[in-house]
Amino acid sequence: MKKILLFLLLLTTLFADARPYIGTHLGIYNEKFSEIDARSSSTLANIKIGYGNREAYSIEFSLDYLNNNAKIFSSAPSANKDGKKIGFNISLVKAFDFDIYALPFVKVGFGSGVQNIDRKLQKSLAFGSFQLVLGTYVPLNRYLDLEIGYEIKHISYEAINTITKKISYNSVMNTLYFGINYRY
């Protein structure tokens, strides 16, 4: 009981002056696989909803939509590239107020998603991820802020079935994005 009360007290402290917010960002990414010589780079869009204090802590839920121009998993000759990725992320944001115009932040989180592919035995591939973002908010007023961030994301894909083996692939995705948030 005491631990729960302490936890609730901590939450109250962390989220003092907290407000809900929504936001979106656009970015470009470069993904490199570790087990195979394969790369993918394209653009992405993200929408997010969060709750927190712009100068301190926030929790954030976001949806990613990633374009794709690479053919890494698909094998069908008719498929000239893999499908787009859709992902869902949960992140914790810690921002720092150094009394400068920008509010640098660190964002850590994890997520999961799915990508359509065209293989004989698989038509989609799930993936899990964890990510770290370094960036900054640039407040425009009490409600609006710009967000610039660099994200490094580790992605683990669902195993590829080759009948005799199930092979899992991992990648690291670097993303640079620019967005805007509205805080209520």
């Binding site: 470009i28 990414y29 470069n30 993904e31 490199k32 195979i36 010589d37 394969a38 790369r39 993918s40 780079s41 394209s42 121009n69 690479a70 053919k71 890494i72 998993f73 698909s74 094998s75 000239n80 590239k81 293989r119 004989k120 035995l121 610039i148 660099y150 590829i160 080759t162 009948i163 005799t164 083996k165 092979i167 692939y169 670097n174 993303t175 640079l176």
Partner: protein, 206 residues
């Protein structure tokens, strides 16, 4: 100067990321087909289990052994008996069937199986006047298509009349003792005993 440094530091990672190229040919080979490692199987009805392999062929030309990962079946379970994964033994004296492999309802392959019919046996000599002496009877088989004196390895069980005692046996030989003075003894080689496909080869020695 400071502004240009800031802009450069922002643009540099942007440039790094945007310069990434895209893989346009998948480096991960896909499955192209599955095969059985024997395209036309022919078995004697007295053969022991034969083991076959399922080969998985990939789009890059490589192959892998998928025997344990594939589902095996035959189109007629009364003709072939599965004694293990990819391991079959005849269960009928003669006949045709098909050995099938399948994976996930997406990959299939079949190969015909022909079981050669045992038509008669060739017996070695025995001496029925030797009472109480251990004797060995050796046999070979004559199969259809004029294949004669073929070694027998499986599926035969021996029995005899009340005047002999069988002490040891396998498909191609029986070791026995004649218990008393007789003018003849009777031996029976039963193929696929206790099945609906049982065939008996009887022999009376005088």
């Amino acid at each position: 100067m400071q502004l240009s440094t800031k802009i450069s530091s922002l643009l540099f990672p942007l440039l790094l990321i945007s310069c990434g190229d895209n893989t346009t040919t998948s480096p991960i080979p896909d499955i192209s087909s599955i095969d059985i490692n024997d395209s036309n199987i022919s078995l004697y009805s007295t053969d022991a289990a034969h083991n076959y392999k399922a080969i998985v062929n990939y789009t890059n030309g490589t192959m892998a052994d998928g025997t344990l990962d594939i589902t095996w079946s035959s189109d007629d379970n009364g003709t072939l008996l599965f004694t293990g994964i990819g391991s079959v033994t005849p269960l009928h004296n003669g006949g045709n069937t098909t050995l099938q492999i399948e994976y996930d309802s997406k990959f299939f392959n079949t190969t015909p199986v022909y079981i050669k019919k045992l038509q008669s046996l060739n017996y070695s000599d025995i001496n029925i006047s030797k009472v109480g002496v251990v004797q060995t009877l050796n046999v070979t088989g004559n199969f259809e298509n004029n294949e004669s004196n073929i070694s027998l390895t499986n599926n035969i069980l021996w029995s005899g009349d009340e005047n002999i005692t069988i002490s040891e046996q396998n498909a191609s030989s029986v070791i026995f003792t004649i218990d008393q003075n007789v003018t003849s003894i009777f031996l029976k080689a039963s193929l696929f005993i206790n099945t609906t496909n049982q065939v008996d080869f009887n022999k009376t020695f005088n």
